[in-house]
Symmetry: C2
Subunit: 223 residues, 2 copies
């Protein structure tokens, strides 16, 4: 069906074939992270498969993938449910970020990759524009921190950061945090300081600033 009539295509492009499993995985992941499928939701396979227009086989494989990511949980003979992530998990996620991101910033400063630094600056710019709006602001903040992790050039750290920045659990807490007196206002400035340190190759400063930044903004329970 695919990849057959394209021998004359310009070039490389490892032809991004997506199997049905991949599509189902992406769709479910999106619906979970966006909150469309709230935590605790029982994922009945028959109806889900029907809804997505596929059979249960690829659906189950996608659910297995999501289960190793921790987004859904399997109970034997009782099926899959959307994981119950709560405030406690968010505290853990934040705590893990405090452990992770300073080290990532240090690596980034030693690496000084131009593209990565540009990506971080873009994220800062977006954050300034998004000031105020809760959802956009969260997305911009998340983008910055993911770009920071990616700038380390370490695939493990990048992957871990993505795991910790799960929007579904982050958004409500972040919104509560942004509503605090000295909320989201100065964050972009702090981010900018981190980028500058990285761009100048000052590893110690990058690490310190990141640690202070993350440590200074623990999650706040949504009211």
């Amino acid at each position: 069906m695919y990849a057959k009539t394209m021998s004359a295509q310009p070039a490389i492009a490892p032809l991004q074939i997506q199997s049905v499993v991949d599509h189902v995985y992406s769709a479910l992941r999106e619906r979970i992270l966006s909150g469309d499928l709230p935590r605790g939701t029982k994922l009945r396979q028959a109806s889900l498969a029907d809804e997505l227009g596929v059979s249960r086989t690829p659906l189950r494989e996608a659910l297995r993938r999501l289960s190793t990511e921790g987004l859904v949980e399997f109970s034997p003979n009782r099926g899959a449910t959307v994981s119950e992530l709560d405030f406690g998990d968010m505290r853990h996620a934040w705590s893990a970020r405090v452990a992770l991101e300073p080290g990532a910033a240090r690596l980034a400063a030693q690496r000084r990759d131009a593209d990565a630094i540009a990506a971080m600056r873009d994220a800062v710019k977006l954050q300034r524009q998004a000031a105020g709006d809760g959802m956009d602001s969260f997305a911009a903040n998340r983008s910055f921190h993911l770009a920071l992790a990616a700038a380390s050039g370490n695939p493990h750290l990048t992957r871990f950061a993505e795991m910790l920045w799960v929007p579904r659990i982050g958004v409500p807490i972040y919104q509560a945090q942004a509503a605090e007196p000295r909320g989201a206002a100065g964050w972009a400035d702090e981010h900018e300081g981190i980028v500058d340190a990285i761009a100048s190759g000052d590893a110690d400063a990058a690490e310190r600033l990141t640690r202070e930044h993350v440590s200074a903004h623990p999650p706040v329970a949504p009211s």
Copy 2:
């Protein structure tokens, strides 16, 4: 079949039921990590399923789980192969550990969980006994560092540490490292120092010692 005639059981024990998928997953994981299935091996579903005495469906689900863990890779219509992890990955893993473990040690020192500290001391003891033997020594070393991560009480950090300590890529490099002049000898002492710092609640010392310890032992390419 299970869970039916046990109302008089003493207590909780969430009765560890393992589905066929779980068994297959564990078996494959073990065979991959132990090197029984070398990297690059094509995992033909029919023969594997036959060998394990199951059908292809649960086997495929187990392979999907392994793929999100990065241990196997899927190519569309070409099936699954054991991932090609090499020395570069090991350097990345080590680098990520440098970023991770000091923070974990800090958390552990703030927590001072008695059981966790005991587990770390056990690991140190095992390591002293295993001195010399390559495989056992690696296992003991791994146990210590995993115990350290677990002592942080942070599930994310624990999980990440497990991902980074993949024996298959670690063993050959570790052996090369242990063969170095001042190799595995003093490690147990350094570990002990870390445990003492954690047990006494000295977060700064725990973090610093861990950073120095991990940083001081970068991976060495196997000869």
